[in-house]
Amino acid sequence: MRTLTGRSELLRIATAGSVDDGKSTLIGRLLHDTKSILEDQLEHVTLTSARRGDGYLNLALLTDGLRAEREQGITIDVAYRYFQTGAAAGITRADPDGRGRKFIIADTPGHEQYTRNMVTGASTADLSIVLVDARRGVSVQTRRHAYISSLLRIPHLVVAVNKMDLVDYSEAAFTAIVDELTDWAARVGTADLTFIPISALSGDNVVERSAAMPWYDGPPLLSHLEHVVIAADRNLEELRFPVQWVVRPNHDAFHDYRGYAGQVAGGVLEPGQEVIVLPSGRRTRVRAIDTFDGPLQVAFPTQSVTVRLEDELDISRGDMLADPDDRPAVVRELEATVCWMAEEPLRAGGRYLIKHTTRTARAVIDALEYRVDVNTLAHDHGAGELALNEIGRVRLRTSAPLMIDAYATNRSTGSFILIDEASNDTVGAGMIRSGR
């Protein structure tokens, strides 16, 4: 019997890959084996595959949702896919507690010309899956995908060594890839690295443990996705509460009510706690943490709550409540790694809007320090611009102070986007290194 009581956590996954590395087959298998592909979708894919003359069940048609993608047979944009395990979804398998998880997969194209889409999908991910073809070993593309995962500080990286069936399930082929990428990852600095030998096509080590690889003693991929510990990835130490919206009801019952609504971006909030309001620097205490469902005794990332304070201070959207003993830097100059997302290149002197937490200001690029070759990781200090899909280190100044942390410490208060004021487009994604 299915129940409503199965608790389950949310895990956001990013995958990147191209047509031939088996990414679509892998996602297709995860969806299929968790009963997330329904009959009418499967029927549609079967019919379309046959009409196109694909000669096989082309599971990429599931995720390539746009006409242009189906016409060209490529993934252009990020697609989001959902599946769930555990008692609440009616999928218990061998899991004794039946808790399971809900998964969101950001399925992104793998080619270099779509780096910006990969960065977009990776920005919110808890875990990324990089596929390696066991026959070809570590490729330029593998290293690029792993680099982007580490740049975006995705806490968990899974290297799925695919097509093991085509190398006779050879442990040596697997170990060679593990050794090479482990060395590389140590230099780049990836948090948690897991290698799993799989065959997406035949299902080895995807959902069920493979009998063909007795030398592998780790879990199959889905089991790893269900059990990897993500609660510790959140920053629970330094309180960061960007004020998003001021709740001031204009009716009698709540005449004097003034609450500051927002999403906790770091640390833990408790009634009675002393907080500092930035950038003003005024101090006060938390009177109450309100929600529609009643007051809370504690709030933590990523809860959306409304905070009432002991003192009446002038606080508005874009301000931040923080721990007075461990506060963010209040800065107007930033050094950051930027992924450029527009046709018109980034150059020194360029002026943009910068959106950081709930605060928007103007920004000017003071310098492009270097451009990163995403394949070799070499730094080109002579680069004069960042073109579409390129990544580099920039220095910029802002028209108003920003309350920042390093991206490595806090992904919410360490990230920003740049917006072109003429076109209103989002043109850059920034990860803060430092500021002053």
């Binding site: 956590e9 599931l62 746009l66 999403q263 990523t302 959306s304 709930t358 990230s415």
Partner: protein
């Protein structure tokens, strides 16, 4: 610079250690995480746009949006009105439900009517046995957005519903003509939504993009939300056409070979009566429905929406024109 005094214990608590040793786990369930994300999105829109509106269809997804708006803005009022696009072929139960809900919440309701668009000559009624006002709604919607000067419109669409929607952003930009251009969508990173638009343009905002049909039903159960009764099994006079089960209503004419009969059905989606199919079901409570959804092998739009069957890219094409 002033040195902050130490807390009474002499040092600050180590939250990570606390997280591991106390019963407070600092963990959210997936529904709590999805809810927090949706509330954040709604507040971003309220803060960054001058004149938002919440599009309400009377369906389960927009009923969830109403609850999320309560969670985002109470004890204040919604900082936007609620708007219903009335095709004139709605289920009467849904219209009654809409009026009850809006009154209970004490919010403002705007009704934009497809019949008025027809009377004013803005659109022409389709003819024939398969005529539907589904497509006509787009004109009524865009006219209402222009007339009221709305610059952001919340919708209850989800990415798991349909292929084109799987590609759509949470903040989905619409040009001067209300059109969606799937090939030039703005990158959407972290929780940094870009709501900048020019006059005449608007943004459709989908706070429950990341929810699935099952999430919505689990949330309805958790929140004990009331729904229009047609979501639960009931006896109804129906007929079959193109492999779907439709309700009999005064505007329908049976074709040769079609017969009306009574059976127990419920609705998985709520749209225009002329193009929304029912499913045979005996699920009479939310718990029954959740069990049915968890076990179903067909998607909700595939089972119940004739409007998506027109072609492989039916939804993409309608969305390009400005559909919900």
């Amino acid at each position: 610079m002033r040195i902050a005094p130490l807390s009474p214990a002499g040092r600050r608590p180590d939250r990570r250690a606390i997280a591991e040793t106390t019963t407070v786990k600092y963990e959210l369930t997936h529904l709590q995480a999805l809810e927090a994300e949706a509330i954040f999105i709604m507040r971003e829109v309220a803060a960054e746009f001058e004149s938002p509106v919440l599009l309400f269809s009377g369906g389960k997804d927009s009923i969830v949006l109403m609850r999320l708006a309560e969670k985002a803005f109470r004890p204040g009022r919604f900082p936007f009105p609620v708007m219903h696009i009335d095709t004139g072929h709605n289920f009467p139960e849904v219209i009654a439900f809409r009026d009850r809900l809006v009154q209970q919440l004490g919010e403002r309701l705007i009704v934009a009517s497809v019949q008025e668009s027809i009377d004013r000559g803005r659109v022409q009624e389709e003819t024939g046995p398969r005529a539907s006002r589904n497509r006509l709604q787009t004109t009524t919607l865009l006219d209402a957005i222009a007339e009221h000067g709305f610059d952001a419109a919340f919708g209850g669409a989800r990415r798991d519903e349909e292929r084109a929607r799987a590609k759509e952003r949470v903040f989905s930009f619409r040009d001067d003509f209300g059109q969606w251009d799937p090939k030039s969508q703005r990158p959407e990173l972290w929780a940094l939504y870009n709501g900048r638009i020019r006059r005449g343009e608007h943004v459709r905002v989908f706070p429950i993009s990341n929810w699935t049909e099952l999430d919505v039903w689990q949330y309805i159960a958790q929140e004990r939300l009331a729904l229009p009764e047609i979501y639960f099994a009931h006896e109804r006079e129906v007929f079959e056409r193109d492999g779907m089960v439709y309700a009999m209503h005064p505007d329908v004419a049976l074709l040769d070979g079609e017969v009306a009969y009574r059976t127990s059905v419920r609705y998985r989606t709520v749209g225009d009566m002329t193009c929304t199919g029912a499913v045979r079901s005996h699920a009479a409570t939310v718990t029954d429905v959740v069990a049915e959804i968890a076990a179903t092998r067909v998607t909700e739009r595939g089972e119940t929406r004739a409007d998506d069957r027109a072609s492989e890219a039916a939804m993409e094409d309608r969305k390009r024109e400005g559909y919900f």
